[in-house]
Symmetry: C2
Subunit: 304 residues, 2 copies
């Protein structure tokens, strides 16, 4: 094992996950909740799920005493909830809406699903405990889930057929209907752009959250890390590790300003973004392109 | 435990994940590879990861003998690879490009990341084995990962700031720059649409893959399940469970045709899709709307 644990963590970020808040309440009424993306299913019969909790967590005692936990799967509009349970606080539940589920575990409101478990087994997993739960009850709403991908919060767009796979042979009627659906077309365009864009970004050595941090810092002055955390839709730990990496690679200073190398890199990132726009909209006249942006802006206003 | 295991599986689908192909090769040269979304990180120090393998899997013996495995995290354009390793086959590696990594585990080409492990511990997890690996080597490219969400393949769109969270206070310069970026605007519009759309779809009791199956079946005639599998960008097991559920709820017949109830439901789904378009593009004139769709179609042509 001659590799850098931070680089290992960056690599792990390429496996996209949902975001959960795992909660419990012990017999004395102490409530805990931790943001975790290590959740996954294990078994259907018996119904088992698992997640991992860092051994140094002060919440472990309550999880142990309560012998139950609930996994709350966050919806796309619950970034605030994720941030709230990711950072230490005297009372993480202040102002949070919840009910009590099986074993008194707090069930958060308006999530996309929850799984209410009794602790089935706790396994030593290096610097974490692997917590295996037997699911006693669950609820699901099917709303759009919040994602965590390459150090950034993200949303999912379901892939629809039409040339997505080589075997795909969508009937003509369906193709016509899809090609006449603006939502479908936008979805498809964004898929293509993402596939095209990310390799270019990665080729200059930054992941999504690091690239965004650099661009935000290139646009701000006299910023401190706490303001930066509020500014970007990136989990706090990724802001910290991202800033550390940008500093170590000589792109920013300790004062969170860009070095000359950092300014070059930010310029390259904007070039990639602009080039991307040219690639996509290059065939449009200036007027068509402006119209398109105005359309998008008015759609956004209507949706907000 | 008085709940339906199929409903439990549907609920678990609300936790979005990446898609991996886990591979191994035993000393006799037998190679195995299985598509799995149960991967997750466990520990940074020592570096541990885990995934789960159904106990009935014929691949288990090879995983056991090889004492190593590699987790290949698929990129968004590798749906074919996911499908290939998800179904039984005499030689899953026929025509697949790979090299051999640590412990001779096959490393698939052009994935977004891979983790090469020695088997650290195998834990009994109900109907699955929980396979914990110690990571000896890894590689990552940072390309756009393939996702599995609510029974469907999907892609990720990273959330960018701008009113995404209540604390967000993006500087004016950045706001202006973002508002002038067509890619950013489309991304934002699609996020909003998704948040808006999925609850409506879920309110009629179908998840993403079931809704899509019903719509595809409403558009096709004399189809069998194998053709259906080729037609939709949905993992095979979800096509099977989706068809089963649509049959049980009386929406389709055993011959994969829509019942009267199914036709009503499909009409409601199209209504939701059309209503959604009206909500978004309602303020546009017919001509503006047609222009927009033409723009998207020409962009798509350019990107393909």
């Amino acid at each position: 094992m001659n590799f850098d644990p931070k680089e290992f963590r960056r690599a792990l970020g390429n496996f996209a996950t949902g975001v959960t808040v795992v909660t419990a309440q012990d017999p004395e009424g102490n409530k805990v909740g931790v943001t975790a993306n290590s959740f996954n299913s294990v078994s259907l019969d018996p119904p088992l799920v698992l997640w991992s909790l860092v051994k140094s967590s002060s919440s472990y005692e309550t999880f142990e005493k309560s012998a139950h936990f609930a996994v709350n799967i966050l919806a796309a509009d619950q970034i605030d909830l994720s941030n709230n349970f990711a950072k230490p606080s005297d009372d993480k539940f202040a102002g949070i809406e919840y009910t009590l589920g099986v074993g008194n575990s707090p069930i958060l409101k308006d999530t996309t699903a929850n799984f209410q478990c009794e602790t089935h087994q706790v396994i030593d997993g290096g610097d974490h405990w692997i917590m295996i739960g037997k699911v006693l009850a669950f609820e699901h709403l099917g709303s759009n889930p919040l994602l965590y991908v390459q150090g950034s919060y993200a949303g999912a767009i379901p892939f629809t057929g039409l040339t997505a796979t080589s075997q795909n042979t969508t009937p003509t009627d369906t193709l016509q209907r899809l090609n006449n659906n603006a939502f479908y077309l936008m979805n498809k365009v964004l898929q293509k752009i993402q596939e095209n864009y990310l390799p270019k970004q990665a080729s200059i050595g930054l992941n999504t959250s690091e690239a965004r941090l650099l661009l935000v810092l290139s646009d701000t002055q006299d910023i401190n890390i706490n303001t930066l955390k509020d500014l970007v839709t990136i989990p706090e730990t990724d802001v910290e590790s991202g800033v550390e990496r940008l500093t170590q690679t000589g792109l920013i200073t300790d004062a969170l300003t860009l070095t000359a190398k950092g300014q070059d890199m930010a310029a390259r990132l904007w070039d990639i973004a602009n080039q991307q726009q040219d690639d996509i909209f290059g065939d449009f006249s200036e007027k068509e392109y402006d119209n398109f942006k105005q359309l998008m802006q008015s759609v956004l206003k209507q949706l907000n």
